[in-house]
């Protein structure tokens, strides 16, 4: 088991290395002189050169990379010319919000989705199965931003019971935070709930058809014991992979929801940074998001090994 974790850790490091190269390369791939693009063309030459040097752009490419990497790893993420702050400040204020909402949405999707998936599998062919399956199909086909607008119109404008903008952490104002959270979380989770329902359903159906379930039946166990003790654990194994993907989606894909609801999160900041060519923020944000994704994947892999003894014992 230990060896397995070490192996995955090393692989993650390789991936992060590749990502760092990609993040670094973005500055150089976007056409045009980076400094002028960031700051506009009406700055004087002296300022331009100063910033150019500060960002290390006067060095050869490979040197630049290691210069950037070195500063990055020591916590110096550079200066954001758009937000006019240190990048670390830009990120520090926003990362917790994205994480909070992202994790919450993921957990929500997982729990509800798996629950629905198990029900549709166990009650296959009944009206409950049909309704949930139809809803799940629609859920996957729905653009999250569209749903956001629908909800905003319904609850924010027509019924006026939920706030439509901004977000504060619960530590600041619990009641407001909870109210503000409802719609964004719903929007972020819809896709997840739908995918989990479908995947869990098909996984459960496959497990129920397996030989060991037949053995369990032949021992005279009750249906509920067969489902709960024998089937679910096996069915969840493929679903775990999906959890990795969903975490990724919730955290990275939060950009759109954050934009609509005007939430001050990392996703929205990334979009703004990209549109305004704030390279330093962009690079840092990219690596951070990728890091979070990799850690989530790693956690999923470890959970995998824990749940499936076959992997643990190989």
């Amino acid at each position: 088991m230990g060896r397995y974790i070490v192996k995955r850790l090393l692989e993650t490091l390789v991936i992060l290395f590749i990502i760092s190269i990609i993040a670094f390369a973005i500055i150089h791939l976007i056409p045009g002189d980076p400094v002028y693009i960031m700051l506009g063309t009406d700055i004087n030459q002296e300022f331009h050169d100063q910033v150019y040097r500060e960002m290390g752009l006067d060095r050869p490419l490979v040197d630049q990379y290691f210069y950037w990497l070195g500063r990055f790893l020591t916590g110096n993420f550079g200066h954001s010319y758009y937000f006019k702050q240190e990048v670390s400040q830009v990120v520090a204020a926003r990362l917790p919000i994205t994480l909070y909402l992202g994790v919450f949405s993921s957990v929500f999707s997982v729990v509800i989705g798996i629950f629905c998936g198990v029900i549709t599998a166990v009650k296959r062919g009944t009206w409950l199965d049909n309704i949930i399956t139809v809803l799940a199909n629609i859920g996957i086909a729905m653009p999250s931003f569209w749903l956001a607008m629908l909800l905003i119109w319904l609850f924010g404008i027509k019924l006026r019971i939920l706030p439509t903008h901004d977000f504060v952490m619960p530590s600041v104002n619990l009641k407001l935070s909870l109210q503000q959270m409802v719609m964004p979380v719903i929007c972020m989770s819809v896709g997840g709930v739908a995918s989990y329902t479908r995947q869990t359903r098909s996984s459960m159906l496959e497990v129920i058809g397996q030989d060991y379930i037949r053995t369990a039946r032949s021992k005279g166990l009750t249906e509920s014991r067969i489902i709960n003790k024998h089937a679910i654990k096996n069915a969840l194994i493929p679903v775990l992979t999906l959890i990795g993907m969903t975490l990724r989606g919730c955290i990275g894909g939060s950009a759109i929801i954050e934009t609509i609801f005007n939430i001050n999160g990392l996703g929205r900041v990334m979009v703004v940074a990209l549109n305004n060519r704030d390279y330093t923020t962009l690079q840092t944000g990219l690596v951070l998001l990728a890091l979070i994704t990799c850690l989530c994947n790693l956690a999923v892999d470890i959970a995998y090994a824990y749940v499936d003894p076959r992997i643990r014992l190989k």
């Binding site: 973005i26 119109w153 934009t259």
Partner: protein, 282 residues
Amino acid sequence: MKQSAKLFFHTLFRRKIVVVAALIILFFFICAVASPLLATHNPNEMILKDKLQGCSAEHLLGTDQLGRDLYSRIVYGSRIAFIVGVLSVILAGIVGTIIGLVAGYFGGIVDSILMRIIEAIMAIPSIILALALVAIFGRSFLMLPVVLGVSAIPGYARMMRGQVLTVRELDYVQASRIRGNSSIVTMAKHIFPNCLSPMIVIMTQSIGSTILGEAALSFLGAGIEPPTASWGAMVNDGYKYLYTNPGFAIIPGVAVILLVLAFNIFGDGVRDALDPRMRGGK
């Protein structure tokens, strides 16, 4: 051979919902192809004095903030959806298939390197990746499928690789070598065709999510350049007028949902039809 094709279509259309899905796809396809015939107005024609009207006899679904007819824009928007969606899937599918085939067949260090790169791409959130690529390559009509496709390539590559790894060990592949075929012939004649069906299934199933991706990009202002009608851009435009004309934002979204749903269900149907267990025989 014809027997197989007949059996495929019979199983495919056995379920009514798949037939309905196919009809929806066909409907939108006709919209895309025959847009000039089906639209009531020029989708880009701005008549400012008619802006933001509700549904009426002249403008079936109302107008947008620049006085353009919404119904016509939705009809023309299906072009973007189809072209971008299908083209992107085909491009990504081809690239992903080749990568997967190479990685799976040759294995070893080639495989390791390719897979690490694939996983790195997967670790970047797709929206961010798409936006970054748009920043680099621009928003032209042809670049958009590429941009949307890039984040789908890893999925295809991994699927193809998995298939190749499985099929490679099967008896009939070894039989081909024993009967005298070279590695290349074996790969082309036996391995590749048998890996294709899962690929076709996921490709059909991902047309839906590609269309959603295009809508998301357009919503963020990074999609097709205006004034070309794209459903996602229309939702973006409508966002500002949510208080007064909710229909403006909501209706194009419904079009997206319908088409994506149809592709998803159709994709499921294709998967079931290609699955030998579902084909009613053995």
